[in-house]
């Protein structure tokens, strides 16, 4: 990862420093919201939005290039495609292993955890896919809308 001070553009020192300190905690909280969706309000959509907003915050306080140092455009595009693929892939695996589409208990044939545990774990897998998709699509929308599609300099 390149040095964060390499790009001189952006807001003043106080905003930059506080954003730099905040972003890891925001991302940690986003991951927490995704994986803790079974026990508390949360899940893929909410956690993905929090993860995406951490990168948008970087782009606002510094510039688009800095946020692209943390999340390269190609990686963002890859994650945005992997998300729906995880969701639909899990559903298709269920169908392949003898259940109905998105009936996670069928995956018990693959790894014997017990059908009920698999329904719980299948929800988790699916939520991860949703989180990845929401995160990268949010960031993609911000990058494109703020820079008019050129992804070089934004607001």
């Amino acid at each position: 990862m390149r040095d964060i001070h390499e790009h001189s553009a952006g807001e003043d020192l106080i905003i930059k420093t506080s954003v730099r300190l905040l972003v890891p905690f925001i991302q940690l909280f986003g991951l927490y919201v995704i994986v803790h969706g079974h026990y508390s309000p949360g899940g893929g959509f909410q956690g993905g939005v929090i993860l995406g907003s951490s990168f948008i915050l970087l782009a606002l306080a510094y510039d688009l290039k800095t946020s692209q140092d943390y999340m390269p455009v190609w990686a963002n595009a890859l994650l945005g495609n992997i998300g729906p693929v995880i969701f639909i892939g899990v559903g298709a695996l269920c169908a392949i292993f003898g259940g109905l589409f998105l009936d996670y208990s069928a995956l018990d044939v693959l790894i014997p955890l017990g059908p009920v545990e698999w329904r719980s774990f299948g929800i988790f897998l699916v939520e991860v896919g949703v989180g990845l998709a929401v995160m990268s699509i949010m960031l993609l929308l911000y990058w494109n809308l703020s820079s008019g599609g050129a992804l070089d300099e934004g607001l």
């Binding site: 945005g80 998300g83 559903g91 719980s120 939520e127 998709a133 699509i137 050129a150």
Partner: protein, 91 residues
């Protein structure tokens, strides 16, 4: 063309509003959703999925199709914005 689009929107909206007349009243205990669907979720969700948060169980398991196509809708929104806006600044 604009008048036609406005007309189509108004007609569709009027039809949808007319359709809501057949809906059960909000919170009606005799509505199909509250007579068997919600009780089943509340009574069976934790037992059937081992997920203490019933909202997540309904969203991810019982309503898996809905959530899948929500994700696809978001994906399509991203693809639409990219296909309209994305360009490389050549100069």
């Amino acid at each position: 063309m604009k008048t036609l689009a406005l007309l189509a929107t108004l007609v569709t909206g009027a039809l949808l509003l007319y359709g809501t007349r057949d809906f059960p009243a909000w919170g009606d205990p005799q509505a199909p959703a509250s007579t068997y669907l919600s009780p089943v979720y509340i009574e069976k969700a934790v037992e059937q999925t081992h997920v203490p948060n019933i909202v997540t169980a309904v969203l991810g398991d019982y309503r898996g199709y809905d959530t899948m196509f929500e994700t696809v809708v978001i994906y399509c929104a991203g693809m639409a914005v990219v296909s309209v806006l994305r360009r490389n600044r050549e100069e």
